[in-house]
Symmetry: C2
Subunit: 323 residues, 2 copies
C-alpha cells in the first residue's frame, strides 16, 4: 500500500485526540482533580490538540456514582464547569459503551451540550446496537465514531461485514482498536488497508487507538497514519489501562504540522504527571507483553501488576493454561 | 521495498544477538556478578539465542581496571571462567571501539580464544581505522562486523562511501546503529534499503542495533528485519545505555523460528532482572525522547535521569539552547 505523506511535510487531515481522562480514568477510577482537568484542557488547547475526550457517558443505573470520579459519567454540567462554552478550536468528545450507556436520556441535543463528538465503543456482535446509538447521536447533531474493540479475536470476514454496515450508517469515523495490545505494525498495516479500503469510498475517516503491551503503541499509530488513517488517540505519558496508550509527547514530537506544539505538554507533564505516576500504575511490563503476545485480555496482567507481583514464571504458566 | 517473510513462517537467516552485558554494562560499569553472567549464558543457550556479547575489549592503558567490572575488558580467561570451551551453538562476541582498543596485543588468535566474533564500533570518520581492525581480526580467524555509530548526524553520501569501503573489506556484517534513538520506522526503512542495496551484492549481512528513546527500539528492529536485515541486537528487559535497547523478550515473542524459546528468558528476568531494575536506571523517559527527537547524544538525559531530576521544562530549554 502506498505511503501517504512523508517525514518533511504534513497531512492536514491528521488529527490528535487526547483520551487521558477516559483511558487514563480506567487506572484511577476517573478520580482526577478539577485542577488537573482544567490544566489538561488548557494544555491541549495550547498544544494544538484537536479533540479532548472527557471520559465515559456511563449509566448511573448500572454504575454507582460514589465508586467513581465524575468523568465516568461526563454530565454536561461537569464538563461546563471546566470549559464554560468552550469557545476554542479544541473539540470535546465522550465515549459511550454499547449496553452501558443510557444514551436516550443521558445524551442531550448537541445544541444544549458542550460535547462535539460521541464515540461509540462496542464488540463486533454489538454492531447493530452501536449503529442505533450512532444514529441517535447523529440525529442529535453530534459527530460520531464507532470503536470496534477486540478485533484481534474475530475473523476478517466479520470485520468486513461490520465495516460495510457502518459505511451504510451516518457514522463519521471508524476506529482500528488494538484492545489487547497484540498488533505488530504489519498487522496494523493490513487492518488499515482493510478499514480504509471499505471506509474511504463511503467518506468515513479512520482512527487508531493503540495499547502499549509490546511497546508498539506509538509505532502502530504511526503505521496507521502513514497509510492514511487520520485520527490518533494519545494520552499524556501514555496513561491508560494496563500497558497504556500511545504517548501524546511522542506523537507531537513526530507530527510536522506547525499547529502542534510539544512545549505545553512538557509543562503539563512536569506539573501533573510526575506526581500521578507515583500514585497509579500503567505502562509496559513483561506481564502485559505476555497477555498481548498471547492475544488475551489484559485483566490478568493488570491484577498481577496491581498486586506488585514479580513471579513472571508462574504468571506465564497460568496464561498458557488458559489457551 | 519488498517485505521478506511474513508473520506465519520464519526466515532462517534471522539471528539474535544478546548484548545485555555490553550495552547494559554501560549502565552499571560492567559490574555483573559471575552468577548473573553464568545464568545469562545458560538462558541464552536454552532460548536459542545465536550470539552473546560479553562486553568491550577496552585498552587497559586507557581505562583503569579498578573503575570497571571485568566485562569492560573481556579477557579471554574471564570469558573462559564462565563458558569453559563453550561447546554449544551459542557464539560469543565482544565489541572493540576504534581508538579505545589495543587490538594488536589484546585480541589473540581465535584458535586460542573463546570468542567467535569481533564487532568493531566506530564513527564515520574512523572507517579506515575500523577496516584495519577488521582485517586484523579477520586474519586472526574471527567473524567480524562494523557498527557505524551516530549515522543520524551524517550525510547519506558519507554513509554510502563508508558502506562501499566496508564492502571491499573482509567484514562479514554491517550494522545500522541508532545511537541517539532518533529513528522512526520510516527512517529505518530507508537506511535498511541503503545498507542492503550496497551490502547484499557484496555478500555482507546487515544487523540492527536500536535504542528506545522514542519507544521504537522493537519497532525499528522489526522494520529492519522485515526488509531483509538478518541480525537483531537485543538485551534482557531492554537494559542498555539511557533509554535502553530492544527487549530480548519482545523479540523472542515475535520471531516464529521454533529454535527460539521465551521461557528461559522469563525465568532469567524473574531471577536477575527484577532485582537489577531496582539498582540501576534505564528505559524510556521523556528526557530521552527529547534528546532523541532533537537528534542529540543522550548524555544530558542520562545525567538528568541519574540525578532524579523531574524538571523537564528546564531540561527541554537547555537542549534547545544547544541546537
Amino acid at each position: 500500500m502506498q505511503i501517504k505523506g512523508d517525514l518533511m511535510t504534513f497531512r492536514p487531515d491528521i488529527k490528535v485526540l487526547d483520551c487521558t481522562l477516559r483511558d487514563g480514568g480506567l487506572v484511577n477510577s476517573f478520580r482526577f482533580s478539577d485542577d488537573f482537568v482544567r490544566d489538561l484542557y488548557l494544555a491541549n488547547i495550547k498544544a494544538g490538540v484537536d479533540y479532548m475526550e472527557f471520559g465515559y457517558k456511563a449509566s448511573k443505573e448500572l454504575f454507582n456514582v460514589e465508586d467513581y470520579g465524575p468523568w465516568k459519567f461526563c454530565d454536561d454540567e461537569d464538563i461546563r464547569r471546566i470549559v464554560g462554552d468552550n469557545n476554542t478550536d479544541l473539540k470535546i468528545s465522550v465515549m459511550a459503551d454499547v449496553g452501558r450507556c443510557d444514551y436516550k436520556n443521558d445524551i442531550h441535543p448537541r445544541s444544549e451540550s458542550p460535547v462535539d463528538m460521541i464515540r461509540v465503543a462496542c464488540y463486533i456482535h454489538q454492531i447493530p446496537a452501536a449503529i442505533e446509538m450512532i444514529e441517535d447521536a447523529h440525529a442529535k447533531g453530534y459527530e460520531t465514531t464507532c470503536n470496534i474493540m477486540a478485533v484481534s479475536t474475530v475473523s476478517e470476514s466479520q470485520i468486513t461485514q461490520a465495516l460495510e454496515l457502518l459505511c451504510n450508517s451516518n457514522v463519521d469515523g471508524i476506529y482500528i482498536v488494538d484492545s489487547y495490545g497484540s498488533f505488530y505494525p504489519l498487522v496494523t498495516r493490513s487492518l488499515t488497508e482493510m478499514y480504509l479500503g471499505i471506509a474511504e469510498k463511503a467518506g468515513k475517516w479512520i482512527g487508531i487507538h493503540a495499547h502499549n503491551n509490546q511497546q508498539l503503541a506509538f509505532a502502530n499509530t504511526m503505521e496507521a497514519l502513514t497509510l492514511g488513517a487520520s485520527v490518533a488517540d494519545v494520552t499524556m505519558c501514555g496513561m491508560g489501562r494496563g500497558a497504556g496508550n500511545c504517548n501524546m509527547e511522542l506523537m507531537l514530537s513526530f507530527l510536522r504540522n506547525p499547529k502542534y506544539n510539544i512545549y505545553p505538554v512538557i509543562v503539563f507533564i512536569q506539573k501533573h504527571m510526575n506526581a500521578l505516576r507515583k500514585e497509579c500504575k500503567w505502562g509496559y511490563d513483561l506481564s502485559y507483553l505476555l497477555t498481548g503476545t498471547l492475544n488475551q485480555h489484559p485483566r490478568d496482567a493488570i491484577e498481577f501488576v496491581t498486586n506488585d507481583r514479580e513471579d513472571y514464571v508462574e504468571f506465564y504458566k497460568s496464561l498458557l493454561e488458559k489457551m
